[in-house]
Subunit: 267 residues, 2 copies
């Protein structure tokens, strides 16, 4: 079935969206069928994949409040094999609106299970049309991120090689444990991805060594370097891998995708 992975870290600006877009594209490039859920009201994953604001008629907000099912909100992207459910700023109201709702933490999980069940009923592949679902989370441990973790098999944690980013890691792990203990017993840390690594900067090495000492094999071997082409790509509505597949950043995300598939096969 589809493997659902939340891309989460409450620290801001660590590369969650960049990882969801580029890892998703690299997985699609090797034949996986990928769905990205943009669960951030900023809508950066939607923009980075070229979905114009005016084209976001049905969004993750509509799915969460039950106005439509997953399949109605899916849009294709310019990348073969990669689809998305976009987001708009409406999503920032979801938390307040769902506060009193029953099963508020399970809204996304319930919508995904219903979608996959409908796919099976129609005789489709066991996992529905997708082999991977990546959820781009907002910089917060709010109800949206809890929904993503409750709906997921694992969490991919992009970790910027900076001091403040390291500080938040233990809080994030505690939250994953809380969700595992109460809402989603199968949840694991699928992996930690070091991002914006700058070999000219001692701090990057210190953070990388600290994280590997703390989390061992959970940390991917592949490290994503700081690379200006990565930050230029979104202004063209393209993943870095499409905008410039030869640059160091794109090559790192391609390597990350194959390391992820190895890791998933080992499961």
């Amino acid at each position: 079935g589809a493997r659902v992975l939340a891309v989460a870290n409450q620290k801001g600006g660590v590369g969650k969206t960049t990882t969801a877009i580029n890892l998703g594209t690299a997985l699609a490039a090797v034949g996986e069928r990928v769905l990205i859920l943009d669960l951030d009201a900023q809508g950066n994953a939607s923009t980075g994949l070229g979905i114009l604001r005016q084209a976001r008629t049905l969004t993750t907000y509509d799915v969460l409040i039950g106005r439509c099912g997953i399949e109605e909100a899916i849009q294709s992207t310019a990348i073969p094999g990669l689809s998305i459910i976009p987001s708009t700023v409406d999503l920032s109201g979801a938390e307040m609106e769902l506060v009193g709702a029953p099963r508020r933490s399970f809204k996304l999980r319930d919508a995904l299970s219903a979608f996959l069940a409908r796919g099976r009923a129609k005789g489709g592949a066991e996992g529905g049309p997708y082999s991977y679902v990546l959820i781009d989370c907002p910089p917060s441990l709010n109800l949206l991120t809890i929904n993503a973790m409750t709906a997921s098999h694992g969490v991919i944690v992009p970790l910027q090689c900076e001091f403040f980013a390291l500080e938040g890691l233990s809080q994030l792990i505690r939250t994953i444990d809380l969700v595992k203990g109460s809402l989603n017993p199968g949840l694991e840390i699928q992996g930690v991805v070091l991002t914006m690594y700058d070999r000219r900067n001692n701090l990057s090495d210190q953070v990388a060594n600290d994280v590997r000492a703390y989390l061992g094999d959970k940390v991917y071997q592949t490290v994503i370097p700081r690379n200006v082409r990565i930050s230029e790509a979104p202004s063209h509505g393209l993943p870095a891998i499409v905008y410039d597949h030869r640059c160091a950043g794109s090559q790192a995300y391609i390597k990350l995708a194959s390391e992820l598939i190895q890791r998933e096969r080992g499961i």
Copy 2:
């Protein structure tokens, strides 16, 4: 009286905390009396000013839920003239806890007004012991950021010179207008500060030009360069200005402080 400024931007990792810490330190260095309110559950401003986790007994969370007044939660820092009310992860529960509370958007404003009134009653200076209050906001437009904007005279917007950061600017301005229209008629954009500017990268120039075309004089002349010493300082619990006052980043924040004072005098 004390000028209250919220340091806000829902985009993550744009330099909010770095700006609150270093602008606060630079203002204190020229004789202003500064109070920083750490309104982010990550507690990065508290850590960056050397407040250990175990020393955070009374926090902004306690002030918001009315467990104590402002003066009880204030702690001094290693920087003369700079005090802080720290934060802990408890703050991440505040939004859900305050959902049903009366005047939930005014909790911080009410606490600050009561503090300043008590100061005046004791015969203290008109504005209480502080000339500036800087509020470090979380990467979200949630109730905490709304509380900060409702309590403030102006908003300082750190804006990273990157495409995704530019994308969120109009949403942030809409939110400031909403707060101005309903909760705090005196609220203005005090200024936009371009951060992590890298002159080797065309993107920085494009973003800087776009923002200046859009917001004109609201954008500070002073631009904060990307500078590794800035990201190293927090691991020593020191502001960059103290850790290395000669580096380009520190010099930029010192210049920003004097430009801010000029701007405030013009008010």
